[in-house]
């Protein structure tokens, strides 16, 4: 099965119904995308599929076949972090960091679709992403900071 992952063509010999999460983690070695619940309740496995945020635990491999997949590893580079990643650093948003791949992928999509979200709009889009460290106040702050950075760019 072929996928375009972070701009590269990748192949994996997997069952049709293997979730994209496990294709990425166990077959393609991209472990930045995290397992949290397996039932789309926590958002830790959020990636972009053809430009839309999806819970990779709920996307079967066959549904992602041929698709363009963007994971946390492809969002920015150490030299040129994505503005959302930079805002996460600037606000020191992460604690344990485990949920943050999903949070950042969800936030990156939010700002693509809404360059200046209100707190309520942030809540609406980000409430599927759980954080047990309770970094929510800083996640909100980081999204506003990234939005400002993107508007300036």
């Amino acid at each position: 099965m072929d996928f375009t992952v972070n701009g590269e063509l990748r192949s994996a010999d997997v069952e049709d119904d293997m979730p994209l999460l496990w294709v990425l983690r166990d077959e393609l070695g991209l472990v930045g995308t995290k397992y949290g619940c397996g039932i789309a309740q926590c958002g830790a496995c959020t990636v972009h599929l053809d430009g839309m945020p999806v819970r990779a635990c709920q996307v079967r491999a066959v549904e992602a076949e041929g698709g363009e997949i963007l994971t946390i590893e492809g969002l920015g580079t150490p030299e040129y972090p994505h503005p959302v990643q930079q805002a996460w650093i600037d606000t020191q948003a992460a604690q344990c960091g485990y949920c943050q791949s999903g949070q950042i992928m969800q936030a990156a999509w939010l700002l693509e679709s809404n360059p200046d979200p209100t707190d309520d709009e942030i809540d609406a889009v980000m409430s599927g992403n759980l954080c047990r460290c309770g970094a929510y106040p800083r996640i909100r702050e980081a999204i506003h900071a990234a939005a400002a950075r993107l508007r300036e760019a």
Binding site: G29, G36, C42, E73, P81, C96, C133, R138
Partner: protein, 772 residues
């Protein structure tokens, strides 16, 4: 008869029992006295690494590796402790610094100061000897009790200062000038008089072979350039790129994956797997293994295949006799225990009987309770193990190296293997909250590794196993009584809590000896209220055992006792017709440190500003982990009784804040954790088993409805105190007191706003029935 044990007596007794075999094995105290336990007398070279001491390694290129023997689980400890080393080493806090969790069990890494509740810089005499020489040898390298900075900030300052002194001494020799003429700056040793300078990287190889100074000079506060200023966290850049390696991310060549099924009713064993043949035939399945007669592991080439096949398992479990236990039956036992007369006595001060018998006594009495809860770390439980040539190596996001090692020995023992050597790698942890000090998943992975020698095995629990088959904070019930004197303040205070002893249950599963329930301070912490001026106080506890695996949970006893006591103090204030802040101010009149925190939080919250109907403020204050923390919750209760926590304001005296921004972050996160437990966390026991399975029925706070949070650090001259747990501690009482202020309704059970379970979970009205 119940015994009264102080914390220290209890811990030393417990630890001494555990240490007996070791002391016997090593023979005499002469041997113990000879051990290097300070970690500062072992400079050596290892290839290009100049190892200056147990904490500091310097490479030829000037990069510095700081050994931080504490688990990074979100609290920023790698950054905080690296900061104090960098400060004394006199180097900038930049990307020349990296942090590793060392794999060896150097005595200097031990958390003995946590166990003995002392600060290393203050410990002396027999306590210091016992801690360093005996406990230090036990490999208890643990991360918890909000104690990592308290326990290591001083030793690691000394390590940094000692390394710097050795580098300066090496430079003095090289330049043939007195060390007193040398200064350090930006990783260089400078001889201003001659204009010469040498880089640390060039000097470290020589320095490592010098004798460390006996007492290196530490910088004074005025000289600090890093401590007390918020340094950016070392681990965050990798975390935002998805590059941080958590336990779940460990990938080894030829690795097997396993998913586990544990008994629904704790303690049951596997009677028979009814459909083993069918599961063995499932895609990718390589084996089915029964671990210790109790757990069933499905082993496959990928975790997804193992997990899919595990769902097919049809397992018959043995009867345990606990199949009819429910949350209610267990709560009934706790309330019944409150009526019995053989509790464990912890404190009996003043004259409690006379206080309550006084003819003009005004009695205030209330019962409270909390449910079971679980940790629900975002990274589910996992461990990876391999056994090759009878050498074991294990990777896990563990909070405790000693229990991790025990897990390896126990798990391999189940497979009939005793490894010659064990190498332990502690990875980043995706949340921990006390959960990861249990050895369970490590033992499982080790058992499987011993079963397939040469093949690494990664065990990952599904979220359903983590929530429904894991370990839990105990349910608890308390009866609080007070008599109010003519001034309205309590003249007598009598507290009893019934719960399952945390120390007893945890040690039974994880330590060589079972300690408690006698003297289990973890179950009563927060009940004491020693900071309140109350002439007669009594504090007692009842251990109510159950079949549930009870464990540490962020802030342990404080997580329920402070809810009980700070709600109760509000009830006393109400009975006295007093304002809750003014009432506490009277009770704290002898404690300026507490008063400063109380006044700060009241001012921040605008305590005396009126609120519209349906809104209310509540306050709670606690002394815990040597910190003093107070919070004001502001809530809105809608006409139909739904509660929303709008704002949490917190003031904190945590002594010196090495990294103020990270202290604030810990408190913010602790508040979210505490408000989550206050409003919605509940584990329900039905038929002896946990009913909740995943995040859809074990609700946790999401970003919507997360309160606005304001944190203020009260300046202090004292040494650093704990900050990982204090944020959690007052939250539930503050919210309950705010609901009382808004509605007149006193809620004495957690969770405050969610009732019912499984399929029927709904928000509870916090209003009385006639008003809802």
């Amino acid at each position: 008869m119940p015994r009264i044990l102080s914390r220290r007596t209890f811990l030393m007794t417990g630890a001494a029992v555990g240490g007996t075999a070791l002391v016997a094995a090593v023979g005499a105290t002469g041997y113990l006295a000879s051990l290097d336990v300070e970690g500062l007398h072992g400079g050596r070279l290892d290839g290009d690494d100049a190892i200056l001491n147990a904490f500091v390694v310097i490479h030829r290129d000037g990069t510095v590796v700081i050994n931080v023997p504490r688990t990074e689980m979100g609290q920023g400890i790698h950054t905080g402790l690296a900061t104090v080393v960098a400060e004394e080493l006199d180097i900038p806090f930049d990307d020349r610094i990296s942090v590793v969790f060392p794999t060896d069990a150097h005595p200097a890494y031990s958390a003995w100061t946590n166990a003995l509740q002392v600060r290393p810089e203050e410990a002396s005499g027999p306590v210091a000897w016992f801690g360093r020489r005996v406990l230090g040898q036990l490999g208890m390298i643990a991360t918890g009790a909000s104690g990592s900075v308290m326990g290591l900030w001083h030793p690691m300052r000394v390590a940094g200062a000692s390394a710097r002194a050795m580098i300066v001494a090496a430079a003095a020799e090289r330049l043939d000038v007195p060390a007193s003429e040398l200064t350090t700056e930006d990783g260089m040793v400078i001889h201003a008089a001659s204009g010469r300078s040498l880089a640390y990287g060039d000097l470290a190889q020589d320095a490592a072979l010098l004798t460390p100074p006996d007492e290196p000079r530490l910088k004074s506060r005025e000289e600090w350039r890093l401590i007390g200023r918020s340094q950016p966290r070392i681990d965050i850049p990798a975390k935002v790129r998805g590059e941080a390696m958590f336990g779940i991310d460990v990938v080894l060549p030829d690795m097997l994956h396993a998913s586990i099924r544990h008994a629904p009713v704790f303690g049951a064993e596997v009677a028979v797997i009814r459909n083993e043949g069918r599961v063995r035939a499932a895609d990718g399945v390589l084996d089915i293994a029964v671990i210790d007669g109790r757990h069933v592991a499905v082993v496959a080439g990928s975790w997804w295949q193992a997990e899919q096949a595990a769902w097919l398992l049809d397992i018959e479990w043995t009867e345990t006799g606990n199949e009819s236990e429910t949350s209610d039956s267990l709560a009934d036992r706790m309330y019944a225990a409150l009526e019995t007369d053989t509790p464990h006595d912890h404190i009996d001060e003043g004259d409690i009987e006379s206080a309550f018998a006084a003819p003009d006594a005004r009695l205030v009495e209330a019962d409270y309770d909390v449910p079971y809860v679980t940790h629900a770390c975002m990274e589910s439980m996992n461990a990876t193990a391999v056994l090759q040539n009878n050498l074991a190596e294990v990777w896990a996001p563990s909070q405790n190296r000693a229990t991790m090692r025990m897990g390896v020995m126990r798990g391999m023992g189940w497979a009939g293997v005793r490894p010659d050597e064990v190498t332990l790698n502690i990875t980043m942890a995706g949340g921990a909250f006390g959960r990861r000090s249990d050895l369970d998943v490590v033992a499982e992975a080790s058992c499987l590794a011993a079963r397939y020698p040469g093949r690494p095995v990664k065990v990952l629990w599904s979220r359903e196993e983590d929530i429904g088959r894991g370990v839990y904070r105990s349910q608890a019930a308390a009866r609080l009584r007070a008599v109010l004197g003519p001034d309205g303040l309590p003249s007598g205070y009598d507290a009893m809590v019934a719960t399952q002893s945390i120390m007893n249950a945890m040690s039974g599963r994880n330590l060589p000896v079972t300690v408690g329930p006698d003297g289990d301070y973890l179950s009563v912490e927060g009940l004491e209220k020693a900071h309140y001026a109350i002439p007669s106080r009594r504090m007692r506890s009842q251990n109510v055992p159950s079949h549930l695996p009870i464990h540490f949970w962020r802030s342990n006893g404080y997580s329920f006792n402070t809810f009980f006591t700070e709600s109760f103090i509000d009830e006393c204030a109400d009975a006295a017709g007093a304002d809750p802040v003014a009432y506490r101010r009277d009770l704290l009149r002898d404690n300026p440190r507490h008063l400063a925190v109380l006044d700060r939080v009241a001012e921040m919250a605008g305590w005396s500003d009126p609120l519209p109907p349906g809104r209310g403020r509540g306050i709670a204050i606690e002394e815990c982990y040597r910190s003093v923390v107070a919070q004001v919750a502001e809530v809105t209760v809608s006409p139909d009784g739904e509660v929303r926590v709008d704002r949490m304001v917190c003031a904190l005296d945590a002594g010196l804040a090495i990294n103020p921004d990270q202290v604030v972050a810990q408190i913010e996160g602790g508040i979210v954790y505490g408000v989550t437990a206050a409003l919605m966390n509940r584990i329900t026991i039905e038929g002896g088993a946990v009913a909740e399975t995943n995040f859809h029925d074990f609700a946790v706070q999401r970003i919507a409805n997360a309160p606005r949070i304001e944190v203020s650090i009260v300046e202090s001259d004292g040494p650093p105190c704990g900050v990982g747990e204090p944020g959690v501690v007052p939250a539930a009482a503050a919210v309950a007191n705010a609901i009382f202020a808004a509605t007149g309704r006193r809620l004495r059970s957690l969770p405050l706003a969610v009732t019912e379970t499984i399929g029927e979970r709904r928000t509870r009205s916090v209003l009385p029935a006639e008003r809802a």
